[in-house]
Amino acid sequence: MKQAISINVNGDDHQAEVEPRLLLVHYLRDLLGLTGTHIGCETSICGACTILLDGQAVKSCTMFAVQANGANITTIEGLANNGTLHPMQEGFWEKHGLQCGYCTPGMIIAATQLIDRNPNPSREEIRHGLEGNLCRCTGYQHIVEAVEFAAKKTAATK
């Protein structure tokens, strides 16, 4: 039996009636058309589906949409502010932190939480902080540099 949910995504309120088994990532992608959040493994290993749920980075492929009832969600599409890239998006662009781009939305979201919690992370802390996100293209070094760029930029604008 379908259940009514109300979720705020990227600042907009959405109401829907969904099956209890509907995955949050499918809700975002298929019902809301927010296809920037990707699915890479379905087992919460790769982190391609990472979103912010009430400020916490979570993997939306292993959560039901009904569990997000009442939550505030930010997806990659909601990260830029009035057309201005988030420093983390800028960092990934500047430092060539992406190649095929498939892991990138989840990686960027996870990295924003990382620098929220630790505004001046060491390279080791960045690598540890991104352990839940897999990238097969970049070898991560440029991603580490991207996060450093974003941390510096964020600190400079505060």
Binding site: T35, C41, L130
Partner: protein
Amino acid sequence: MSKYVGQRVKRTEDPRLIKGLAHYVDDVRLPDTLHVAFVRSIYAHAKINGIDITEAVKAPGVVAVYTGKDIATKVGPVPCAAALPGLKVPDYRVLAQDKVLFVGHPIAAVVATDRYLARDAVDLIAVDYEELPAVVDVEASAKGGPVIHEQFGNNIAYTLTSGEGDIDEAMNSADHIIKQRMVHQRLAPIAMEGRGVLARYFPGEEELTLWSSTQIPHLMRTQVALMIGLGEHKLRVITPEVGGGFGSKLNVYAEEALLGWISIQLGKPVKWIESRRENMQATIHGRAQIGTVEVGCKNDGTLTGLRYNVFADLGAYHQLLTPAIPTLTGLMLSGAYRIPAIQMNVTGVFTNKMSTDAYRGAGRPEATYVVERAMDIVAAELKMDPVAVRRKNFPAANEFPFHTATGLDYDSGDYEAALARALEISGYATLREDQTKARAEGKIIGIGMSSYVEICALGPSQAMPAGGWESATVRIEPTGKVTVMTGASPHGQGQETSFAQIAADELGVDLHDVTVIHGDTAIVQYGIGTFGSRATAVGGTAVLIAIQKLKEKAAKIAAHVLQGETATLSFEDGRYSLPAGAPASDTGSSDPVVPVAEAPAGALPEPETEGRKSLTIQEIALIAHIAKELPPDTEPGLSVTYFFEPKNFTFPFGTHICVVEIDKETGETKFLRYVAVDDCGKVINPLLVDGQIHGGIVQSIGQALYEEVVYDEQGQLVTGELMDYAIPRASQLPWFELDRTETPTPVNPLGVKGVGEAGTIGATPAIVNAIVDALSPYGVKHLDMPVRPENVWRLING
């Protein structure tokens, strides 16, 4: 004129990717799309006595169910393009007929209105299997036992001997012969985006469009058209954003043809998005060779010969290039060395597993591993430094083109230069001193190196199954914007940027005035695709030469309009100019052309040409399209298509050096240093080259330390998810210290050799050599990959 080429230009494709606005296959949404889910074999080897779909067809949302019977005479077999003498090619139907031959073998396709309902109905299909003994071990399978394809009588798909020189004489003349068995374990490519297909048939137009996550849109279009009996001109393949390939999407898969055929049957769009489990089971694997190498050498380290006897685990069927991959191993067995005689004897063997095929490096990592491990074993045997043994056998820089006993002619190289640079950056002499001290303190430290050569820019058409050229169309539009269309179809490499760099420099226009279009067979002229480190060396060259030809025409128009001579016009910063002191084309205005924005609505701006001493190539494009001031017998428009056929492969090279420390308590390997000096010829974009090297090395680290596709003795896939198949994480990796030497290739005018696979080819032996070096005090001479902590711990504590 290099404003962009050679610069660390940020990628033009990135904004859409970092904003989450790009479109991968599953992001393409069409109304009324039906979803496909597959019933796949749960056994490695079984007879199918029956398939009961009664319940499934009645299930909610189910539109159709197809089994092997439905497609038997309708859809042709999955193609194999490899041609080898005596090769046995089994009939590989897109849905299993009376037998299943590997776990994941598709048996039935369920079509439903929703992906959840399609998946539900899969569970309602009952397959009556009669299990047969599985053939898993490649060496045992070659010797005898159960036969997978009964019509062939045994499991040997082919045998092949390659190489030049008298190998027996070479071994007889050696002072020492070292011999080592080596396992190149089966790997999974793991593109982060799995495969996916969206098919839409237009019944009125009788046209089919396939969106597929592939590296080869044009080759796929040709093959799928043949498989489903549709005219090739009625099939359009669109490759949207592709989330990584690494060779796994250099193929034509059952699902691509089947989805097209289903869409034709139902007259509606149908979509299938591969799950990770399906990706592990039914997307090609790589490597999977077990071989024994013998190397003969003199007392001073001079190599006399190399023999490699190898069993290649092909899996149950041939995918596009399956049997050809080990032949690439044979080609590269000379490595970076002068070896007078080389012989490879390969036995390609069927097993009840997924097919192997091209995974990043495709046969060359195996060769490099064999040669570079052997060099260290030779060094240990002769008690020489590994550096000295390598130097002893390098051809000198002035010996190129260098002919190898594998039948190749290496284009250009300076192996000593790359080695010397790597030794310098790593501080090799000091590293050895530090190692001695650390060992005295009880630490387990190892230093490993690899001096690799790879074969890239695939390649001359003579050596390729379906053409080795690449194509480009370059068009300057009436408004001066530049459209480049490339047949190379990228999947993360950044060719929209690097090809735009080439074009912008050659045309003297702004980078952002250039757009690079790829991956749509209805728009882009035929092309081969992106694989084999070929896109820039072959496809980039096609862009360059197309522009040069386009400029010949532009110069003629410029000379005509400016009333000068083509030969005396200069071209700089995108502008054709009369020689200094020459009179202007006529008296009058020297105002620039009216910008488009100021032109009357609906009309093209009239180019102002009177009194001009120079014209930009973008202005000439407008003149060429308006076609009122063209020289006699000149075609209007400004567009050139060029197909570039390379005369040879290219041979990038380099030296990697790494330092590892083994944790005595856990057996874990930790990197202390990683230095890579690569030579990929001329570099278009150093930022992108660094990224390719980083990513390649990390896939090597994955092979050396973590990754292995494991089938158990029943042929069950043990590593069926990313929970069980370990690809490297950020925290497991060192900081890579990169540098380059630059030896241009004479094979193409860009001087570019290619870099996509260098890291995956060069790094693996450096890592294993370092681990073996670390453990040499424990009597270790060789270790097979992945070097698991458990094995190392047992060696130390055993």
